[in-house]
């Protein structure tokens, strides 16, 4: 019995390797991409359906205009620096994806667990996108959007609409990922324009004069006025700064964007992430904040966009939901393919899509999106810390690297212990959810280094 589990994991790991075979080799010099391409990628990828919700939530959490702007400037800068100084240098030096680098460090067993965790988290994220799209479709059928505090589905209408959209997105994902992602590329500049147009068209409704002489006054009294909506915690500068920083934690500090930066000519290409953070996140969040103020702070992206730009806004929310849920469903399918041997891709995508559609019916994932984004980054962060320690600290301390690869280990237990242990410690740290990941990261780096140092000594004396 004891033998069965490792053998099964080894089988699964071997299937997983085959799946990712196409990017096993380090990227060669002739495949490197220009900086312009990175700028375009970041600008296109960071304006999603969730931006309609995030910016609106900042208003509901009663942040002041000053704290919001300063917080976004600082937080997005920290995110750009994390890409530039943490993620890009490791990617450029190894030219590998996180998947293959983690294999060397932590073994195929842990990489498998990481993939499954990632797939589950992606399902919830895709579910939130479906819920956002559902607010747009529901508008046409008079379906009431759930309340801010709702955990369970609030009406049959909401369940039917949301589940149907989930099924429709899944069918589209099954029909052809590549063609659809090309169409998604067409959508992204327009979706960005919907945010800007929505905010500009909302200004007269808020009472801003055409010469803008009362612009700041309106923004500070009617939009970001420092008064939270009932039942919402009040946010300050550091909540915003940390949120902007960790919104893509899994990508920069968590290192999953190594997949992208392994094609960069230099680690300095990390700076191109600013195109996603400033014209992307920052501008979209500010615009959705303005739009939600005009509908009485109701968390209803569909209504928000409809009130701002009319029917086209409804399509904007629907397309933003779909274009972001589509690649997410694809990634879930890819991650789950390893535990469903022999299943064709359509079957896996269907299964992942059904799970996503069911999750989407629960408004808690959409109404607690800010907390979910924090948890998503936090759960994957220790793995980034383990890789960071192994890449930068171990050579300086003379510690052995790539023990899983060298020792042909199925699982590096030190890495697993640090992953689980860090999350357990973070659970009990007396800090706001948004701030947990930072001490957690330092803790994970220190704990992994110490654990390997101690066990390396043990191994030497044995």
């Amino acid at each position: 019995m004891g033998e069965i589990m490792p053998v099964k994991i080894a089988e699964v790991a071997s299937r997983m390797d085959k799946l990712y075979e196409f990017d096993r080799e380090p990227v060669t010099e002739d495949k490197l991409q220009s900086g312009r391409r990175f700028a375009g990628l970041f600008a296109g990828e960071h304006v999603a359906a969730t931006e309609f919700v995030i910016g609106a939530f900042f208003v509901l959490h009663g942040v002041t205009a000053r704290d919001l702007i300063l917080g976004l400037l600082v937080g997005n800068l920290l995110a750009v620096l994390s890409w530039t100084f943490i993620c890009a240098p490791i990617a450029v030096q190894t030219r590998l994806t996180l998947y293959w680098y983690l294999q060397k460090i932590a073994g195929p067993g842990l990489t498998f667990l990481y993939n499954i965790a990632n797939a589950f988290l992606y399902c919830i994220l895709a579910g939130a996108m479906v819920s956002v799209a559902s607010t747009a479709v529901g508008l046409g059928f008079g379906i009431e959007t759930p309340a801010l505090t709702d955990v369970y589905p609030s009406s049959i209408g909401w369940v039917v609409t949301t589940f149907s959209i989930g099924v429709a997105f899944t069918i589209l994902a099954i029909l052809g990922f590549e063609k659809l992602s090309r169409f998604a590329g067409v959508c992204s500049p327009w979706i960005f324009v919907v945010f800007i147009a929505g905010a500009v068209a909302t200004l007269p409704k808020l009472g801003v004069h055409p010469n803008l002489d009362n612009f700041w006054e309106v923004m500070t009294t009617k939009v970001w006025n420092g008064v939270p909506t009932e039942g919402q915690e009040r946010f300050g500068l550091w909540h915003i700064a940390f949120f902007a920083w960790f919104a893509n934690l899994a990508m920069h500090v968590g290192l999953s964007d190594m997949a992208l930066f392994r094609y960069a000519r230099s680690w300095k290409y990390g700076l191109y992430s600013a195109f996603g953070m400033y014209p992307g996140h920052m501008l979209a969040w500010l615009c959705s904040g303005i739009m939600v103020a005009a509908i009485g702070r109701e968390m209803n992206p569909g209504l928000m966009a409809y009130t701002a730009v009319g029917v086209a806004g409804v399509f904007g929310v629907l397309l933003a939901g779909w274009t972001t849920a589509n690649p997410t469903l694809y990634r879930v399918g890819l991650a789950l393919q390893v535990i469903t041997p022999g299943w064709p891709r359509w079957k896996i995508t269907l299964a992942a899509g059904m799970v996503t559609a069911v999750l989407a019916c629960f408004p808690v994932f959409f109404m607690k999106l800010l907390d979910y984004v924090a948890i998503y980054g936090l759960v994957l962060m220790p793995i980034g810390a383990v890789v960071f320690a192994e890449h930068w600290i171990f050579p300086r301390l003379g510690l052995p690297r790539y023990r899983a690869e060298e020792g042909k280990l199925l699982l590096n237990w030190q890495a697993l212990a640090v992953w689980v242990g860090t999350l357990a410690v973070c659970r009990f740290l007396p800090l706001h959810l948004f701030y947990l990941w930072l001490p957690g990261w330092f803790l994970a780096v220190a704990a992994y280094t110490l654990l390997v140092k101690l066990t390396a000594k043990e191994a030497r004396y044995a």
Binding site: R182, F183, G185, V186, P189, W190, V193, V194, I196, A197, G198, V200, A201, L203, P204, V208, P210, V309, G310, V311, A312, F315
Partner: protein, 56 residues
């Protein structure tokens, strides 16, 4: 030739999507006219940008 036309119309459509709300804000367009113009320009963008992308 068709590709260039598609690119040009797509760019104009997207610019119109940006100009329409600005015109509404300035009071040069009524709300319904702005929404119709925005919707028409959006349609223009999707048709021509998709045609452009598929000819790449």
């Amino acid at each position: 030739m068709l590709k260039t036309v598609c690119a040009a119309v797509a760019a104009v459509s997207l610019l119109t999507c940006l100009a329409a709300p600005a015109a509404y804000f300035q009071g040069w367009l009524a709300e319904a006219a702005f929404e119709n113009l925005f919707a028409a320009a959006s349609l223009g963008w999707f048709v021509t940008a998709t045609a452009y992308a598929s000819r790449k």
